[in-house]
């Protein structure tokens, strides 16, 4: 245990915590937008898996297809897959008014099975791809400790954290954000005032799913490999983070960082041999147990967007 409490190990752990927090943050920000608009998307996990596979596979094969082989292509592929899933989910929930909870589970199962299928069929063995390259920010990255933790990360990490104030501003200060909140609380009133409930919700769903796809890309490119069920519940944890953050981007970010620290610490303890063998299964429970504990403490205190999961039908 004493190996863990050295400055260099703690700095390395915190730096990796920021990287681990990134997929949680991206997915949870996307889910926040959707839920503020009254749409619960339980398919995040599935979309993350699809995004992760798209990014991984594009990174692996882009050169063969004559595309630029950089991470940018991979990230775009994940975004497109996210948008596609968003379009499908829009048709289901807005078009067919499908029950949001169960259709989300359908999307999760589809993502779980389909990525496993494609991986076995198209790749087979877990070939590694180069991870995300670091982009040290000149000046700031030379700061002691903080520089390594915060300012020597990849573009995706910076992007995810920059999205926190952007999404917050969008929800609170823009007309679109006002519409989102209106259709999430009282869609009938919003409709009366001429706001298109369907269009607002569809845009929110597309944004949310694109971010979920991006979260998958961040995950796959961070570990540099794909495997069956790569996300291992992270998409569901991201949904829990929305509750934790009480539907506010800043709160969501704090939650994502908390889970980043837990994941990075568990990994670091394994690497250092502090926990090994059977005991590592017990530490691997930590994020799941933490999620339940967090939900117990926050669930009664926060107030859900009033129209969450309620489909809007003008004729009723």
């Amino acid at each position: 245990m004493s190996d863990f409490f050295t400055v260099s190990v703690i700095v390395a752990t915190l730096a990796s915590a920021v990287r681990f927090a990134t997929p949680f943050l991206l997915a949870a920000l996307g889910e926040t937008i959707g839920q503020r608009a009254g749409v619960l998307n339980l398919g995040v996990e599935g979309v993350m898996l699809l995004g992760a596979f798209a990014a991984y596979y594009t990174r692996l094969r882009a050169e063969d297809w004559g595309l630029p082989s950089g991470t940018a292509t991979a990230v775009i592929a994940a975004l497109l897959v996210g948008l596609l899933m968003g379009a499908i989910y829009s048709v289901l929930t807005i078009g067919f008014h499908a029950e949001q909870g169960i259709s989300g589970i359908g999307i999760f199962l589809f993502g779980l099975g389909f990525t496993d299928l494609l991986f076995q069929k198209q790749v087979g063995t877990p070939l590694p791809v180069p991870g995300l390259s670091r982009l040290p920010i000149p000046g700031l990255s030379d700061l002691p400790w903080v520089g390594d933790i915060l300012f020597n990360q990849s573009v995706l990490v910076y992007g995810a954290f920059l999205l926190v104030p952007i999404v917050s501003f969008m929800i609170r200060k823009t007309t679109f954000g006002l519409n989102v909140r209106a259709v999430g609380e009282t869609p009938e009133a919003a409709d009366t005032l001429g706001v298109s409930v369907a269009r607002t919700r569809i845009i929110a769903i597309l944004m949310g799913n694109a971010l979920a796809g991006l979260a998958g890309a961040a995950l796959a490119l961070n570990v540099g490999v794909f495997q069956q069920n790569l996300t291992a519940g992270q998409g569901f944890i991201a949904i829990a983070l929305v509750y934790f953050g009480a539907w506010r981007p800043l709160g969501v970010m704090l939650g994502a960082l908390l889970f980043g620290v837990v994941s990075a610490t568990v990994l670091q303890w394994g690497t250092l041999g502090i926990v090994s063998g059977a005991a590592s299964s017990l530490t691997a429970m930590a994020p799941a147990i933490l999620t339940i504990v967090v939900l117990v403490f926050v669930s009664k205190r926060v107030s859900t967007p009033a129209a969450l999961t309620r489909p809007f039908d003008r004729s009723q």
Partner: protein, 329 residues
Amino acid sequence: MLLALGANPLQGYASMLDGAVGSADNLADTAIKSMPLLLVGVGICIAFRAGVINIGGEGQIIAGAILSTVTSLALPNLPGILLVPLVISAGAIGGGIWGAIPGALKAYASVNEILSTIMMNIVAAQFLSFLLQDLLIEEGAIRIQQTKRLPASSDLPLLPGGTRLHLGVVIAIAVAIAAYFLLFRSSLGMRLRSVGHNPHASRYAGMPVQRSVVQALAFSGACAGVAGAVLVFGSQSHRLIGEGGAAAFTQNAGFNGIVAALFGGLHPLATIPASFLFGGMLTGGLELQRDLQVPAALIVALNGVVVVFVVASLKLRKTLQRWAGEVTA
């Protein structure tokens, strides 16, 4: 979808059909594969009817499997006539507890049961992995994640007919029938359905809504727990095996059972043929994998699509009915 994978779809369907119902043995395999789906599916019927979404079948199967395995290891000398009912009950209790926890969290702390049941799945899977690497691992040189062969008196007896069909099939169908009586022929079931239909009105009518939520998830988990016990004691190796991950043990029945139940219209008796259909898809999927090298993960993906279609079509049907109503009226 098969076409996209570069396989002849007709040959694929023929292969699946043959694998599912092509011979008495294949038919028995299908029935055996359907069993955990049916048990989980029946549990899903109870939970969904009570307005609780239980995605924790995977964890509840594992909890049932662990408790029943420990029970049989603790009482190796008991005769089968006592031990078999005992291990099945232990499975129900294990799964029931694993279901009751998220039930209580939902009822008394407003925790979303979808998220908590998923997290309980992860906890159970890791706990199983821990036990099979440590306390319950078979003694010996090869460190495989499995228990030793469990006492023979706890084996589920084979049914006559010379196939691999065992008592588990009978148990599963009995549980489905019992669940039908519970839901539609008892006051408790009436209460559960009423709470699922309109919790506010039920509370106003003096029903204990919170307790009903816990009961629904406990019953639901108990059904899945029985599936866990049946998977252990009806397996050909008569052990609890964790090698290859928890999903290899549960065969994803915790998720696939949801699909079967939805397909069966959330009715315990209709879930029997629905499970058999999906069990057939699973055994057929394995045959497909052998014949055409199409990974069986295809079935999981297809199940996702089925869920989406079933859910989407529910609303579509209602809309069509309304249109039809307007036309005739």
